[in-house]
């Protein structure tokens, strides 16, 4: 089956794509370097810091092309191959450029039976893209993810590895897209413990503005 063997030129190009960032851009600031040193000191060997440094690099550069991975490896002081291995193992590290906002819709387990796919399909039609794609304006990438540990507030999604937006309905999705289009970040939402609704009246953290009670949500018509 020769068609399994790729053209070597194509293969090389895939492995060593043209760098996106110039050498001048590929530096960590002094403050970032201090952080990295601190992380390195927290483990018996420096290797332990690589995950944190990859996170830092992803926040700074948006994604992790090979030259950025090489930068993190050099900064931590481990072989490039090790850093590359780590960067390619975990799903939250982006090896390819994504949209400005990545919408990770949970369709797993509880979210599935509570309408996670409804939310996913609604977003597909609203943004005019399929799951896995990015809108033409580069604003949104839509992804389907596994359980995010917020099953009591299903269906839910996460915005770009950060904020959780829970108890989704079509209206909430519309509001979220509006907020993001305006360049704002959604508020951190605290999930009330149902038992607290009797005793504390709901919000048990006074430093959190938004909170969401565990109220029943519409049942999705199909469980897919």
């Amino acid at each position: 089956m020769t068609n399994f063997i790729k053209d070597p030129v194509v293969m090389m190009a895939e492995r060593n794509p043209d760098p996106v960032f110039s050498n001048d851009e590929l530096v960590f600031s002094d403050q970032e370097k201090r952080l990295i040193e601190r992380w390195k000191s927290q483990y018996p060997t420096v290797d332990g810091a690589i995950m944190r440094v990859l996170w830092l690099a992803q926040e700074k550069f948006g994604f992790l092309p090979p030259e950025v991975i090489r930068l993190t490896a050099d900064e931590v002081g481990i072989p490039y191959a090790n850093a590359y291995g780590v960067a390619t193992f975990y799903t939250q590290y982006y090896k390819k450029k994504r949209g400005k906002h990545v919408l990770d819709v949970c369709t797993c387990f509880s979210c599935q039976v509570c309408g996670g796919y409804d939310i996913l399909h609604y977003l597909e039609s609203k943004l005019g893209i399929h799951v896995g794609e990015t809108t033409d304006d580069g604003l949104f990438t839509l992804q389907e993810v596994e359980c995010l540990g917020a099953c009591g507030s299903a269906p839910m999604l996460q915005v770009t590895n950060g904020r959780y937006v829970m108890d989704l309905t079509h209206e909430r999705v519309d509001a979220l897209i509006d907020t993001l289009r305006k360049g704002k970040t959604p508020e951190f939402t605290s999930v009330t413990l149902p038992q607290d609704e009797d005793e504390l009246g709901g919000n048990r953290r006074s430093d959190v503005k938004e909170f969401q009670a565990s109220s029943p949500r519409p049942v999705s018509e199909t469980v897919r």
Binding site: Y43, P44, G48, W55, C147, G149, C151, L193, Q195, R205
Partner: protein, 445 residues
């Protein structure tokens, strides 16, 4: 075959249960409030009273019969005794497992949001009991917001002198480091968590050697779940005896039930172990949504075998009863499904999860999870044959117990038991004949 459980709630007077893991106190996540509520006093006592030697702390935890809340239910105190004798030249580690990725489980997140200091205090006491100088909290990367919150509180704890060198003027020193994961279910498995901490790809290791012998960087390590460690300060404060009296006899203590799915009030509830599943659905979680009928319950996260509505009658939430009823306690993350749920579609998504999350080290798991997904998808689309069901069960037998870690078993159980317990639904989706092409003959007749 299946033993019918006794049908009595083992949770006693649960309606008047005083919450201890997540007590109703406003702003308990703040250090000042936590201290005002008596927090860190147990830890101070442990450091300053002659009674609380490290072995005495372990002894008390053993007395309490606290069992791990991370899924396997292993006795916590016993696990601590596996640590080798202290050797000043050999570092020892504690890992707090906050990877919480088992579908259906969302209790650790609530604990980190509302009572992080209880977790810190539990970590400190565990470190004290096992003479550990470094503790890592491995939090899944998706919990970025909660990591930020915890780091802010941890800084305050450092400033207060509860963590660091010569804590509160004693001989005892411990560092706590929060480690951020980056999205991989397998990192919850203890040996793969250790690889991930070491800055490697998270591949589970062959056991033995167990973490207590050869853990992170080859040094003795103990790994406990967040909720398990959060129980420790309570055990020392109120006594192991008190703890062992709560809920089911052989699996006691307060427990966080994460209830999700088709109920009126989903969420995390704190009650004793040994609650009747029917009580949890009807009285605690507000009953089924829209008055629908119950179809199935998954009692403890995606890998625990599914129970049909008929099977939960009289079953309580503790390891022994659930085992007799044909399932497991797991993480206590319960999924409740109503009569409209399409079980075949649901199983297809579960198999997709395990296929996606298999690390790929072992052939039975890497290939097996893929085939489970393929075949269940085929059945879902109406393209399956009846014999595919037996093929699936056979495939499960070939995966179980043949791999480095338990993910392969965790992937096989839902398939095996869902097919066993909802066979008619699967059969109804399959082509009726055994031989491909035979339906053509039938129509000719």
């Amino acid at each position: 075959m299946e033993v019918k459980p006794t049908g009595q709630s083992k949770a006693g007077d649960w309606k008047n249960f005083q919450r201890v893991l997540l007590p109703p106190v406003k702003d308990l996540h703040k250090l000042e409030v936590y201290e005002a509520e008596g927090g860190y006093q147990t830890f101070r006592d442990a450091l300053s009273t002659a009674k609380w030697t490290p072995p005495a702390v372990t002894e008390e935890v053993q007395q309490s019969v606290l069992r791990g809340r991370g899924g396997a239910g292993f006795p916590c105190g016993l696990k601590w005794t596996f640590m080798p004798p202290v050797d000043e030249n050999v570092p020892r580690f504690l890992c707090c497992n906050a990877d919480e990725s088992e579908p259906g489980t969302f209790k650790d997140r609530q604990l980190m949001e509302y009572n992080p200091h209880l977790v810190f205090e539990g970590i400190l006491l565990a470190c004290y009991a096992m003479s550990i100088k470094t503790a890592y909290i491995y939090v899944r990367g998706e919990f970025a917001d909660w990591i930020t919150h915890m780091e802010a509180e941890l800084e305050k704890v450092y400033a207060k002198g509860y963590v660091g060198q010569n804590i509160l003027g004693s001989e005892f020193s411990t560092e706590i480091v929060i480690h951020k994961g980056a999205g991989a279910y397998i990192c919850g498995e203890e040996s793969s968590l250790m690889d991930s901490l070491e800055g490697k790809r998270a591949y589970p290791r062959v056991k033995p050697p167990f973490p207590a012998q050869k853990g992170i960087w080859g040094y003795p390590t103990t790994i406990n779940n967040v909720e398990t460690l959060a129980c420790v300060p309570l055990i020392l404060r109120y006594g192991g005896e008190w703890f062992s009296q709560i809920g089911a006899e052989r699996h006691p203590g307060p427990v966080l039930y994460g209830i999700s799915g088709h109920v009126n009030r989903p969420g995390v509830y704190e009650y004793p172990t040994g609650m009747l599943i029917t009580d949890l659905i009807e009285q605690v979680a507000g009953g089924m949504r829209n008055g629908k009928k119950l179809k199935a319950v998954v009692p403890g996260g995606s890998s625990t075998p599914i129970l049909t509505a008929a099977m939960i009658d009289g079953v309580t939430m503790d390891a022994e009863t659930l085992r007799d009823a044909g399932s497991m306690m797991g993480t206590g993350g319960m999924l409740i499904m109503d009569e409209d749920t399409d079980i075949v579609a649901w199983l297809r998504r579960v198999t997709h999860f395990y296929h996606h999350e298999s690390c790929g080290q072992c052939t039975p798991c890497r290939e097996g999870t893929g085939w489970l997904e393929n075949i269940v998808s085929r059945i879902e689309e109406g393209e399956g044959n009846i014999r595919d069901l037996d093929l699936l069960v056979d495939l499960c037998s070939q995966m179980e117990g043949r791999t480095v870690c338990a993910l392969a078993d965790a992937a096989a159980w839902p398939v095996r038991y869902t097919i066993e317990r909802f066979r008619e639904e699967f059969e109804a989706r399959c082509r009726p004949s055994l031989v491909p092409g035979a339906e053509v003959m039938e129509t000719v007749e």
